[in-house]
């Protein structure tokens, strides 16, 4: 297993109290595999990824519990110095907003080449050549001419390609992409997702794709983890979850998106709002919004019930997963 996250907890100490952003997350990614982490804002999907990357601000963040095993080694026990060696070289992250993630006063070539100069002691000239090659690899046309240009001279899709090139530069084994296409138009989104999937195959990388878009996930993921209020409520291979969700939240999400291929009547809307992380409801966190909630849901936190064991395990954190699964 390339990466295994075990019982991870992350909390933020704020003036109003302790916000429990992540409450016992378990997931794993193998080389060449794509795990999609799906959730609404505030579900803890990005915070989990930041903990894995080791870029969480601590304080106010704190990891009271959990393990992050990368190639068998617990990253949380490493010193910051050692962690840095893993970050970038072994795992890299692609952010949503390419424009604010790139330095506006340095040319793209300088930003890409910087890594080679600093970490590999290359000469400026060699680093520039490497930058051109990277840009070629992410299919930026006329890379040689454009290497001297600045981020604002590139379109949104091209900037996201530059972010991908940066992440790929040191050939990491794991890539975490946090909403990589959310800011892009659909036609460009398809280009970028295709490129990412292609490069992943080529280098046999593990990919964690963080998104709120159920459509993007269906196209590229091998397995899906749905997060709600800091927990994974359902984890499943991609086909099964769309066919028959085993958690009412997943079902609600799937029902609430309008479909391209049908006109549809009124949309199903999950009532209410996601919970306040300072005061997560007792029992199942989803119970105040759940149409299937019973008394037990208000008192007992549902464990992860195994839905199917093999060939790929599937789990649901719902006391009534059977009822949900069979409609």
């Amino acid at each position: 297993m390339l990466l295994e996250v075990r019982d991870l907890h992350v909390e933020f100490h704020t003036r109003e109290g302790v916000a429990k952003a992540v409450n016992g997350v378990n997931y794993s990614v193998d080389a060449g595999e794509t795990l999609a982490v799906l959730g609404e804002s505030g579900s803890g999907k990005s915070v989990t990824a930041q903990a894995v990357m080791g870029i969480l601000d601590m304080p106010p963040g704190r990891i009271p519990k959990g393990e992050i095993l990368f190639q068998g080694q617990d990253l949380l026990t490493l010193k910051e110095e050692e962690r840095r060696k893993v970050r970038g070289a072994k795992m890299a992250m692609i952010f949503q907003d390419a424009l604010s993630s790139l330095n506006p006063v340095l040319s793209v070539g300088e930003q890409l080449g910087e890594m080679f100069i600093v970490h590999k002691g290359m000469s400026k000239k060699d680093a520039r050549a490497q930058a051109v090659e990277l840009m070629d690899r992410v299919r930026i046309p006329a890379a040689k001419e454009r290497v001297g240009q600045y981020p604002h001279q590139f379109s949104g899709g091209m900037r996201q390609r530059i972010m991908i090139a940066m992440a790929l530069a040191l050939e990491p084994e794991l890539i975490i992409a946090d909403e990589p296409t959310t800011a892009l138009d659909v036609t460009v989104q398809a280009q970028v997702m295709d490129l990412l999937a292609e490069l992943q195959r080529e280098y046999n990388m593990g990919l964690i794709l963080i998104t709120h878009d159920l459509g993007v996930v269906a196209d590229v993921a091998d397995k899906i983890a749905v997060m709600y209020a800091g927990r994974i409520v359902e984890q499943s291979p991609v086909h099964e979850i769309y066919k028959a969700p085993a958690h009412p939240y997943t079902r609600g999400l799937l029902d609430s998106i309008p479909r391209l291929d049908q006109k549809g009547q009124e949309l199903y809307a999950i009532k209410g709002l996601p919970p306040n992380l300072l005061a997560i409801p007792p029992g199942c966190a989803f119970n105040p919004r759940c149409p299937m909630a019973q008394d037990v849901c208000r008192t007992d936190v549902p464990p992860l019930y195994p839905v199917t064991e093999s060939p790929v395990p599937r789990t649901s954190a719902c006391h009534f997963w059977k009822e949900c699964l069979h409609g």
Partner: protein, 447 residues
């Protein structure tokens, strides 16, 4: 079609590009909107879709007179808004209101909700006499599903979805006939999006409103619209009823756009053909000659560079009865279904409870309102953390080795000229993915 209450003809908006500091001379123009025509019938919803930069938001701004058109006309019940005197215009504008995209920046943080929703009455006092305003605002809050007691709260005390409801209430305040909604749900989470879309649906039938609904999300536009116009680089390239556009598109751009939408159903992948366009939208300051889509089109021929295709029913379909008989601005229009028919796909069984009644949703939201704030704050923090770390992380990518495997082809560069032959030009890359196992052993696990 019912009588049109809004007729837009040959609408243009050009922003001049100037050179020189003291003596500015015009060296060109950004043609944001470059000849748009459409009608809006009473009670109908016209959806306008397109990628960013296609001019759809500029059209919206011109409809509510936030931008002056360079040329063209906007007729509301026969009166041309572009030619009215300021006084007459003020009276007409009451009937066309706007709902903005971003519920965070479109509400003044220093005004209470009551002041925000009631502000339109300052400009149009004839709608509500002073003593009556508070009650009117409370009614509006109730209509959009917010607790009327929240009238003295400030925008930051609400969640994104609730703020958008406030924006909608403000749009309704003057009892308009037309609401122009510019990406009203794109900033919202999936589950909240559905609530707001349902609200817009309900309000339309309750107040017999006409909507111009602008969005880039094709699924939502289909859900809410009776007719849909597809915009590309300042022009409408295809327009028709939702079934005509989505099930029988004839313009290559519409086909590409539809095929690129990720459908939340892995089974659908097998049934779908994807057309992936290369390159980006050209700059509106330097529009290609002839058909403006030709630089990315796989069908482009010499004629496309010379002749501007008109938005009309293409000749091949003029005498037919098929749903493909609708306006499409393409010389080589051809019907091509890219969205598989709905009955070919399996669907999850709907929840037993069925759609939650609007009343219940409203109550639940009111209760949750207090909690909403903290969530929003936590979310903002999260975003800030992410951004700050992005810069730090780029520097930290410590390297051990960078030997790149060479000799791999750079692939087709985007933005290249269109192919010579129709149908198989360089612009098209069609993919059929029947969910087959990957060829190479190192590929992703197939499930």
């Amino acid at each position: 079609m019912a009588e049109a209450i809004l007729e837009v003809r040959d609408l243009h908006k050009h922003y001049p590009l100037t050179q020189g500091i003291l003596f500015k001379k015009q060296v060109g123009a950004v043609k944001a909107v470059d000849g748009v025509d459409f009608d809006l019938a009473a009670g109908e919803t016209l959806g306008i879709v397109g990628e960013s930069g296609c001019g759809k938001s500029t059209v919206a701004k011109m409809l509510v007179n936030l931008e002056k058109p360079t040329s063209g006309s906007i007729r509301y019940k026969g009166e041309d808004l572009t030619k009215l005197s300021p006084r007459a215009l003020k009276a007409v504008r009451r009937n066309i209101q706007m709902v903005f995209q971003d519920p965070y920046t479109s509400l003044n943080p220093r005004m209470t909700v009551g002041d925000i929703i009631g502000e339109p009455y300052e400009i149009h006092p004839e709608v509500a006499p002073k003593g009556d305003r508070r009650r009117k605002v409370q009614d509006l809050l109730d209509v959009v599903g917010l607790n009327p007691e929240y009238i003295n709260r400030y925008p930051h005390q609400f969640s994104g979805g609730q703020r958008q409801r406030i924006g909608i209430a403000r749009g309704l305040a003057l009892q308009p006939e037309i609401i122009v909604a510019d990406e009203p749900v794109s900033a919202l989470d999936v589950s909240v999006q559905a609530q707001v879309v349902n609200l817009l649906d309900r309000l339309q039938s309750e107040f017999s409103l006409s909507y111009v609904f602008i969005a880039h999300d094709l699924s939502i536009v289909r859900h809410i619209s009776d007719r849909v116009g597809v915009m590309y680089l300042g022009r409408i390239v295809e327009i028709g009823t939702d079934a005509q556009i989505y099930d029988h598109p004839t313009h290559p751009y519409t086909q590409a756009l539809l095929s690129a939408v990720p459908v939340p159903d892995p089974e659908a992948r097998a049934h779908r053909e994807r057309i992936i366009l290369t390159g980006d939208v050209p700059s509106p300051a330097n529009v290609p000659s002839g058909c403006r889509f030709r630089t990315r089109c796989w069908k482009a021929q010499e004629r496309c560079a010379l002749e501007v295709p008109l938005l009309a029913v293409p000749a091949v379909f003029r005498l037919t009865d098929s749903p493909a008989r609708h306006d499409s601005a393409c010389h080589f229009a051809e019907e091509k279904r890219v969205v598989p028919p709905e009955d070919s796909l399996p669907h999850p069984v709907p929840l037993e409870e069925g759609p939650a009644p609007a009343e219940a949703t409203r109550e639940a939201e009111s209760e949750a309102a207090a909690e909403a704030e903290a969530v929003a704050v936590a979310e903002a923090d999260e975003a800030a953390v992410r951004r700050a770390d992005a810069a730090a992380d780029a520097e930290e990518r410590a390297g051990e080795q960078t030997g790149e495997p060479s000799g791999e082809p750079p692939g087709e560069p985007s933005g290249e000229p269109p192919g010579e032959r129709p149908g198989e030009g360089t612009g098209e890359r069609t993919e059929r993915r029947p969910g087959e196992p990957p060829e190479e052993p190192g590929g992703p696990k197939s499930l």
